[in-house]
Every structure is written in structure tokens, then in C-alpha cells.
Symmetry: C2
Subunit: 320 residues, 2 copies
């Protein structure tokens, strides 16, 4: 161990990860790679070995992203009793079942048992903080920290406070995820699906429409995206892209000259009929089998992780 | 010049680029970097120096992408007379004004003057080939080759034949763009906006909705995308992403368990009201000024090109 190394701001801080499934285990790996002590709280039998296997694999990715992972697994432990687990925690990252009643009872227990300094985050992609905090004394303490899968790899964390959360706590939440090397973004209103999943849903409707109409195959549509919009959006988001798409006139030019045509297209797109009916489901499943059936899910996932790491690393080398 | 170099399949082939604006000049640079002879046909005064300036700048990007650009500019010439320009052409790439009447007359002239071997491509993003070919003897000869801006950089070319185009000509069109190092994808039905622009339009409606509702700022939404969906979609398209998002069950699991929730969200999203009205336009322009106003369009475009090149190059180093 290099003792001259500057201490990580989260060094030896204790984070309790509730739920040792894929999301929880991925968070655990990220926390460990940031020098934290990690306690997994999950009553499921055999959880220890499952989490350890996932964490060891994720460590390879984290190393490829430049994290030091020395002695990381020595800081990982398991505590099935929730109150004991959070008794001296600095942070809680919850990844339990997506049921409001379950989460409400959970947070009431956590609030009782955890120290006042402890920050509370839920990874939920669907249940807003205000619906989870109904049994808490101080509901404002609970904040959504919604990662993008897999959490140890993709930088985004959607930070969604509830209306009672203080500005100071929002800033502390953003600071926590920044200290982990993530890119936390504040969502200013509770809304179903937050931002990233709503965008994904909106584009996917058009994807299903185009394939169901026979305009393009599913695998070719994937290639359209990876060779155009994906590269563009890994570089600049939609607004900045149209700011530059407007030429010297920038976004004001776009909005005056190109937006009206887009609004006409919106009307047409809204009128289209798209459903996951049996025929559509069958068509999509067949096309995906045709396009990707020669490789296993594990092989495809490994190729994805490798490529995503390369893109993230290439960004670090580029002057932004 | 290294005489031992294997000759490019397009070496010394003649391509006529109609229209020397940004799209035409970008195509010209790509063609030159692939050892072709390029003739620009554009009656606009001063077009020569404009195109040369653009091409020289684009050559730096093409070099960064691994293209040899030796003596490229010596193969660039200008011919304002359309019939003369196409007389011995192997390929035509048209980038004229987006007006069906203009293009119809243009293609009638080109068909008369060009050799029978010549392939005809239009860069149009909006006017299907069948609407441009109304005055041609053999309308099936005209195919859309729609690039993604900037054409010399982003790999996608949407190849959109018209119903009269032969299978052999579709394959020859795909081969041409592949020989240029592009990723051509066949669009199987003529449809307004083809594929990439329809997807972009669908997602942008939700972007405008979220910002207009105060859920997130425009610049933060851009960051959400670049740090999550952009990286994902530069790696895998939407269908493959959900194939992997379904875990071991793959896309069939997604379609049975997650798609119903997405369809519910579609209904909610379709009911939302989004217009480019004056208040929305003002809000968006202000937010983009706040987010990006500290840099010029040119600075932002240069940063974009640099980042896109890094992403494309990182893909070449990754085993796919």
C-alpha cells in the first residue's frame, strides 16, 4: 500500500447497501473501489458468495476505469439485521423490492436505528421519495439516488429529492456521488420515470413502430443508432446537438426554422399506433433472435461493458 | 507516395458532388480521402474557396480517423455546368436545395448526361427518391444516401431505395458506402424522416416536455444523456440494450415483464402537451444561453468533433 497516497474523502466511511442483487452488488463494488467500508444487508441465503462473485468481476471494470481496488474485498461485510447494519452508518443505499409498502416500513426502521449524520438514498427507478418516506419522522431526509445500469460503470446518478428535502441535503447528496466519480444530476420535480427512463421510453416507442411497419429490421435500427445518434449523444446531449445543428445561428435558428417541421412530425408520430400486442412481441423477439442469437447474453454483456469502458476512458483523454 | 500500397477500390473513380454547402463539402472531403476524383457542381460565386477551406479542415478529422489524405486536394475540381460535370461520372452525390421540383428537373438532366454505369445518390433528409425521380426515364436508378452530419465523420448512411430500385442496385449502393468506410443501413420503406431523424424527433419531444415542466434544466438534461443513454447507445442500440436489460431472460423477459409498464408510460407521454410556442422557445433559448453561452458555436463544434473522433477511434480498438 502506498502510504503517501492522498486519502480519499470517503476513506473508511461506512455505507450500508440494502439488497444484494445486481444493482446492490454493483454499488458495493463502486463503494469499495472508493475506499469505503461496505456492509450488505440482505436476508437471502447464499447472498455472500453471490455478491463476492459479482464484486470481483466488477473490480476488473473499475480497474479498467482507473480505480485502485487494493484490498477492497477486505472492507466488505454482511449484516442480515437491518437495525444493527445501519447503527453506525454514514450512508445507506437501498435496492430493495420495488414496493412502496415495503420501502416505507424499511425507512421507518432505518431512521430509528441510524445516526443523525447518515444520508439515505434509494436506487428506486419508480417510487418517488415522498411515497417511500410516509412513515419517517423527517421525510425530507430521504433522497432518490437512481443509477443507470450498471451503476459501477455508467456515470449518471439521478438525484431526486422530495419537496421537503433541504437545499443543504440536496447539495450533500450531489457531493457524495461526485466524490465517487459519478455524474449526479438534480431532478427538480418528482415525476414517474425521472428523466433517463422517460427519454428511453419515448424513443423506444418509435423504434417499435418502425420495426413493426417493416421500415427497418431491429438489428439494423440498432446499427443506425450506434453509428449516428449514439455517438452524437455520448458527446453532446439533444439540446447542445441542436444548438450546433442550427449552424452559426445556433439554437435560436433551430427553433425558428427547424422546430416547426419537427412539431409537424410529432403530430404524425403521436397518431401512429404502437402496442406490445402478441404479433408485435413475436416479430421483435424473432428479429432479435436473428440479429443476436449467435451470442449468449453473457457474451453480449461482456462486449457491452468493454465498449462502454472504452468510450468512458476515451472521454477522459479528450479535452472537454 | 508509397507505390506498394494496395489500390483503394474507389481509386481515381469520379464522383460529382452537386451543391458545395456544408454537406456537399463534407462528402467531398470523405471522397478525396478515399482516393476518388471529386468534381463540385455549384453555380454559387466564390464556391471554390469555401469548399477548399472546409475540405482542408475536414482533412484533419479524416487523418485523425486514420485516412491517408496525401495529395487529396489535387483531385478536387469544379465544373459549374451540370451536363459537363456528370458526363463521365461514376457516382453523383446530390446536396441541392430541398425542393422536389428543383430536384426532379436536376435528375432528368443528370440522367440524360451521365453514363449508364453512374450511380445516383441524393443526400436529401426529406424528399423520398420516388418524389425526386418523377421526370427520370428509369426512376429506379435514384437512391437516397442520407448521411448524418457531419458526413465525413459520422459513419451512418441511410440508404433508401424507391420501390422501383432493383436489388442489385441496392447492393451496389451499400457497397459504395461501405468502400468509403461508412456504415450504410438499408431503409426498406420510404417514410418521412427515414429512421435516425424520426428517433431524434421522438426523443426531443420528451426533452422539451421535461424542460418546459421544470423537471430539469436543458444543460442538465444534456448531461443526463451524455452520461447514460449516449454511452449505452454508442455501444448497443435500443433493442440490444433491452435484450441485455432483461437479464438472463433476454428480450423475451423484457417484453413479458417490463414492456407493459413502458406501454403505460407511453400513454401518459402521448397525453402530454408539448409545443414550440413563444414561451417554450424563450425558455429553451435562455437555458441554452445559460448552459453554453460562454463558448462560441465554433468552439463547441470543434470540441464535439474531437470527442466524436475519440469515440469512433475507441471503437476500433475494442473487440466487437
Amino acid at each position: 500500500m502506498n502510504t503517501s497516497k492522498i486519502k480519499h474523502p470517503l476513506d473508511q466511511k461506512k455505507v450500508v447497501v440494502i439488497g444484494g442483487g445486481v444493482i446492490g452488488a454493483s454499488w458495493a463494488a463502486l463503494f469499495l473501489a472508493n475506499d469505503m467500508r461496505v456492509v450488505i444487508n440482505d436476508p437471502q441465503p447464499g447472498i455472500e458468495s453471490k455478491v463476492r462473485v459479482y464484486v470481483m468481476r466488477a473490480m476488473l471494470a473499475l480497474q479498467a476505469l482507473g480505480h485502485g481496488v487494493n484490498a477492497a474485498l477486505e472492507r466488505l461485510s454482511f449484516e442480515p439485521d437491518l437495525a444493527k447494519a445501519v447503527a453506525d452508518a454514514d450512508f445507506v443505499q437501498e435496492n430493495g423490492p420495488e414496493r412502496a409498502d415495503f420501502k416505507s416500513a424499511l425507512w421507518a426502521t432505518i431512521e430509528q436505528a441510524a445516526p443523525a449524520r447518515c444520508l439515505f438514498f434509494s436506487s428506486s427507478s419508480g417510487i418517488p421519495a415522498s411515497n417511500q418516506a410516509t412513515q419517517m419522522q423527517s421525510p425530507g431526509r430521504l433522497v432518490i439516488g437512481h443509477p443507470f445500469n450498471p451503476p459501477h460503470l455508467l456515470p449518471l446518478v439521478e438525484v431526486v429529492p422530495n419537496p421537503q428535502t433541504s437545499r443543504a441535503l440536496i447539495e450533500a447528496s450531489l457531493d457524495f456521488y461526485r466524490a465517487l466519480g459519478k455524474c449526479p444530476l438534480e431532478i427538480r420535480k418528482e415525476i414517474d420515470g425521472f428523466v433517463a427512463n422517460r427519454l428511453q421510453s419515448a424513443i423506444f416507442r418509435e423504434c417499435v413502430y418502425l420495426v413493426s411497419q417493416g421500415v427497418i429490421t431491429a438489428a439494423d435500427l440498432d446499427s443506425v443508432v450506434t453509428h449516428s445518434l449514439g455517438i452524437r449523444w455520448a458527446t453532446n446531449g439533444p439540446f447542445l446537438s441542436f444548438h450546433l445543428g442550427g449552424g452559426d445561428g445556433g439554437f435560436p435558428h433551430f427553433v425558428d426554422h427547424l422546430a416547426p417541421g419537427m412539431e409537424t412530425r410529432w403530430r404524425e408520430q403521436l397518431e401512429s399506433t404502437v402496442h406490445f400486442d402478441e404479433a408485435t412481441k413475436k416479430l421483435l423477439v424473432e428479429q432479435i433472435e436473428n440479429g443476436y442469437g449467435d451470442r449468449s447474453i453473457a457474451q453480449l454483456a461482456e462486449a457491452r461493458d468493454e465498449r462502454e469502458i472504452a468510450i468512458i476512458n476515451s472521454g477522459r483523454k479528450t479535452a472537454q
